[in-house]
């Protein structure tokens, strides 16, 4: 009898263990109901957690709203020869983990703690002094697109961990120029986030406008050679969730650069309007009047437009894969009068 009851016990144990493995385990079930909105506008209710990069506020350390209209003019002085000198300090790091999309954490490599790095701005002919400190664990540099002496190119002068370098050159030509780390493997250093934009204004300036910066980028968070996310200014869907507020009648100027890797092209489509496009920003006369520009790697330019009608207007990559993985945003055009740019 004893042996039989033991056999029964063993059978019960085996069956119980199988059931535990076979049935989904239930943990701290929530009683609170949450809702979310689908792409089609349907409202769905759930007893669990919502996975929604569009409408879930994320606790990102990087603020795309602040980045959008922020320009760094440097510490300004005048040299003995009367030349304007602009000094910048840029610190590279490669140890930060940031929440790039709600619930997704990625090891970003940063210039001054953000991806993209700071937008530097100068006037043609200014002397730029960029004090570069490498606080990363790997070698890094800054390679500026533009015109400068060979020794200031940031390619053959790797700055080791803990090292420093002074980049010194005259700002030019007029336009929008990306900068990025140029250490091999280059793709790795760029896709992790070591890039930013340098704007060189013409000496006579451009017309007053509501100016903003959009660095189009992608994030390959699982290192499979394909981007998991795309965005304007890093955070997927951010400007869809937080529409960019502009005023009807105001001239809007976007400095745009494409830093997407892996995919050969990116593009920029504007709804309900067309923009004047200045490729590389090197001219003050626009080359195109369009709502669609295709950009290859590090291709960049200036877009200018004015909305007549108030309301919400989408802007996004018309390579729809990119827009559905985050590169999409909204302009909220207000009609109640603005700063009066361009009027």
């Amino acid at each position: 009898m004893i042996t039989r009851s033991r056999a029964v016990l063993a059978a019960v144990l085996v069956a119980g263990l199988s059931a535990i493995i076979a049935l989904p385990m239930i943990s701290d079930a929530q009683t609170e109901r949450r809702t979310f909105v689908t792409h089609n506008g349907a409202i769905v209710e759930t007893s669990g957690d919502v996975l929604d990069p569009l409408y879930t506020p994320s606790d990102v350390e990087f603020d795309p709203d602040e980045f959008l209209r922020n320009f760094e003019y440097g510490r300004v002085s005048v040299s003995e020869t009367g030349q304007t000198v602009r000094e910048f300090t840029i610190v590279a790091r490669d140890d930060l983990i940031q929440e790039v999309s709600p619930g997704v954490f990625y090891n970003v490599w940063t210039f001054n703690g953000t991806v993209p790095g700071p937008t530097l701005r100068a006037t043609e002919g200014d002397l730029l002094r960029i004090h570069f400190f490498n606080n990363g664990s790997k070698a890094h540099t800054i390679h500026f697109h533009g015109i400068h002496p060979a020794g200031m190119d940031g390619v053959f002068e790797p700055v080791g961990s803990g090292g420093r370098f002074l980049y010194e050159f005259e700002a030019g030509p007029v336009g929008v120029h990306p900068y990025h780390c140029h250490i091999m493997p280059l793709e790795e250093h760029i896709t992790h986030g070591l890039y930013g934009m340098l704007i060189v204004d013409p000496k006579n300036g451009r017309a007053p406008a509501d100016e903003m910066v959009m660095v189009l980028n992608g994030l390959d968070t699982d290192f499979d050679g394909e981007n998991n996310f795309y965005a304007a200014n890093t955070i997927p869907f951010y400007y869809q969730h937080h529409p960019i507020q502009i005023n009807a009648g105001d001239l809007v100027r976007i400095y745009v650069a494409n830093m997407v890797e892996f995919d050969p092209i990116n593009n920029f489509h504007l709804h309900g309007n067309l923009y004047k496009y200045y490729p590389t920003g090197t001219d003050v006369v626009p080359s195109f009047y369009t709502d669609m520009i295709t950009l290859s790697q590090t291709e960049r330019g200036i877009m200018e437009f004015t909305y007549e009608h108030p309301g919400k207007y989408l802007f996004h990559a018309h390579k729809v894969e990119f827009s559905e993985k985050g590169w999409t945003g909204v302009f909220l055009v207000r009609g109640d009068g603005g700063a009066g740019y361009g009027s």
Binding site: I21, S27, D28, V44, L51, P53, G103, V104, N228
Partner: protein
Amino acid sequence: MEARASGRTIAGGIIPLVLVAVLLAYMLGPGSEMFRLGVALPEISIEKVDFVDSEILATVRNTGPVPVDVALADINDRIQPAAVEPDRHLERLESALVRIPFEWNVAEPYVIGITIDDGTRFEKAVDAAAPAPRPTWDLAAFFALVGTFVGIVPVVIGMLWLPFVQRISPTKYHFFLALTAGLLLFLAVDAAEEALEISRNDLAGVFNGALLVTTVIALSFLALYYSGGLLEGRTGPAAVGLMISVGIGLHNFGEGLAIGAAIGIGSIAFGTFLIVGFTLHNVTEGLAIAASVSRKRPALPVLAALAMIAGAPAILGAWTGGFAYSPIASVVFLGVGAGAILQVVFVVLRWIRREGGRFSGPAVTSGLASGMLVMYLTSILV
């Protein structure tokens, strides 16, 4: 003195266990730094995808060495708002349901992607979307009908060979018993192979599919061997017929699972094909039961009961496969079936010897060989 001796025996048995516990405590406790090598990569498995009204449901399980948080869902690599129930945090082996609202189209292929907190994306491809079967009475009745045609009807037809088997000489009878053993041996291999295939395709590596199948087969064999011994002691050789029916019943449960799952995942044509194949295949199972009980002149109700025990589990299998498909449950059921059948093969062979048959004789060898061959040929139909 005796008490002290048995105390020593118990202590001798326990001391190594205590030492193992101390060793584990040391390795997991303060000494754990020493063994922390390499990087623990998180992993999740998408075990199941269901297509329902305007939603795609993905069942995900944490099959890696560390806890994870589900962060994002996508369809065809396009990010979609979604929900995860009961919550996004998954401890080891915990599972959750990801609900992705999506207007999917019937018969189109979809790739379902789930991204976790470290940015790693895992995906599962579905060849053709089809609505998940709702557990309605109509569908339950349909599955019951299918199970009857696959399980019960062919077994009954096969059992009609009973009068024929009853009249033949002992040598020919040994042939048919050996044929039964051959049929069953084939079914055992078939079930084991099916279990391995499911474990390879749908089971995460953490479950050690091949070892799981082997262990379940061994446990099932031993459990039935033990209980069979108890049964035999009371009722004599009649128990063999019952055990064959039970073994075949477990096997037919597996067939029902396959059919229910095929209809469940929408491959209706494949389901029809399976039904025809299994029906033909299962006629031979009726013969196996008939051969085993032919010398006992069993009453009709007993025969009916045996037919039901062997055939009806196909209905249960179809319900399970269609309404509550789970890869791990399927692997376990198929493994139990394989073990049960192997045990029956063992009993049948022992019985032949007890009846005076020789394993090396022409009746037994040709019977075994024919059994395997017949099964192989009818299996091509499936």
